[in-house]
Symmetry: C2
Subunit: 302 residues, 2 copies
């Protein structure tokens, strides 16, 4: 077990992974206000949007407009999902220096999500990553369904390690090992991070948890013990209503900060400012945000 670190880095994915999974359409003004508020809260990495087909992900159709209007603070990295070279061109036009590709650890999920086999997607991403690195961009690769697949069930740990290695080998600066359906438990996190750290540089691994079964926080805790230092979260727990079909909100940034602050681990992110950003967005979302801390605060105020 690693000692807990003095500092970890949060990657705020609310504007992209969060909003993408919300039914309500959020306009550009609200998205820009959210990103600016998250910048003001002290985040150093914010995933702003996705340069994907608006046919497939209508919520991300205005990513160019959002990038044009956010106020970029010095030292803060604003990223976008990029599925192919066309998307990379759009990222470059929007002056985006941080991109992310998204692979899966499950064949069925890969085919259903991006209509490609895992190998086909990795071949395409290799070209994207090469071009991005040539343009001095920072590249993150998501590895989704790394802890379980909604179609295939269990996912083999050695396959996750192998795919993580392939993504790093092709030039990704970081692989976000992702629990897409929120089914991971901390024993799995402990085992997987141990296996990853044994053969790969752990400082290039991030963990991305959804809180579907309430395990996201304890999974971060196990990840911290496993030596991981980069964690994803979304303001308010955006990305899923607890009472809606397919509920699968991201780990709420506020909830994560409550724990990290308590552990004395510095993030540079102000929990109250994140909560204020969530509250400002909440009326547009159409359901109570899943963050437990927000709910506890609301209950206290009544």
């Amino acid at each position: 077990m690693n000692a807990f670190p003095d500092r970890v880095t949060l990657v705020e994915v609310g504007p992209r992974d969060g909003l993408q999974n919300e039914a309500a359409r959020i306009d550009v003004d609200a998205k820009v206000a959210l990103v600016d508020a998250l910048t003001a809260a002290g985040h150093t990495r914010i995933e702003v949007g996705a340069f994907v087909s608006p046919k497939w992900v209508p919520q991300m159709a205005d990513t160019d407009a959002v990038f044009a209007r956010i106020r970029r603070a010095p030292g803060v990295r604003y990223s976008a999902l990029v599925p192919n070279l066309a998307g990379l061109d759009r990222a470059a036009v929007s002056d985006v220096s941080d991109i992310a590709v998204f692979a899966a650890a499950s064949e069925t999920f890969s085919r259903k999500n991006i209509n490609k086999s895992i190998d086909e997607s990795l071949n395409e991403y290799a070209a994207v990553v090469r071009a991005a690195r040539d343009a001095d961009m920072h590249v993150r690769a998501y590895l989704s369904t790394a802890f379980g697949c909604p179609f295939e069930g269990a996912v083999d740990q050695s396959r996750v390690v192998d795919l993580t290695r392939r993504l790093l080998d092709m030039g990704a600066d970081e692989v976000a090992v992702s629990d897409t359906i929120g089914i991971a438990h901390p024993g799995q996190v402990r085992d997987l991070t141990t296996a990853l750290a044994a053969v790969l540089p752990i400082e290039h691994i991030a963990l991305h948890f959804h809180d579907t079964r309430g395990t996201a926080l304890v999974n971060v805790y196990a990840g911290l013990e496993g030596g991981v230092r980069v964690f994803d979260s979304a303001a308010g727990g955006l990305g899923g209503c607890p009472y809606a079909p397919g509920a699968a909100g991201n780990l709420a940034t506020e909830d994560l900060l409550f724990m990290l602050d308590g552990l004395g681990i510095t993030t540079g992110v102000d929990r109250l400012k994140v909560a204020a950003a969530s509250r400002a967005l909440a009326p547009s979302i159409g359901h109570p945000l899943p963050s437990r801390l927000l709910q506890a605060d609301e209950a206290t105020r009544r």
Copy 2:
């Protein structure tokens, strides 16, 4: 850090701590059905009710009737809260062999909750514990607000250790160190369990978490690492609606089992049977049960 154990013991507190904090009145039939279903799920310790004044806790007024009708399985311990010698007499009449007294770690909370100072309550409990032990009863003592008080805020760790010691010294078999308002974070759990284990036998310590801020699971994880082997939980997360004032549900037994099952830690309790018991009770409660696992299952079924 302790290695994780092969087995831990759950104390199911839904019928008492859970229902006591629900606004809906639950009738004797439903309470008996709940306790019997929890017995069938494999629990070995179930807190059934409280022999307290019906004026103060109307939901527990029918505890005698519930005890008269539950089917007691061999080897299962059915307990009741007992505030004084009169309550102990009622427990004896109901053939209850496991009782619990409830002290607080905060003066203000003690006065508001039981109208006594901490010392006054401990003096009264000393007589109760002595009489209970003379009658060969098993005695648990709750130490509430051990991680924070709604009125005083932070609670001094050395006071918690001292009060735990006093409760054990007066003859309690077990002290349930309790996060009454769900404000503990795992750093605090780690520090407190370390401090307790340094001076007291950790096998006589249980941990009792509420999930108000979503930290209950990770607090159990930290407690496991600290060597604790007895944890409280309530079917469905009874005891607080996430969208109600003062939301403060207990850690849901299903959610705890999802984690413990994943970690390969045996409890003897069947998660699916607990979930079925929660679902059977849910229509009487008047709001969705807070268990994240129940919610995820519901979402999957739709």
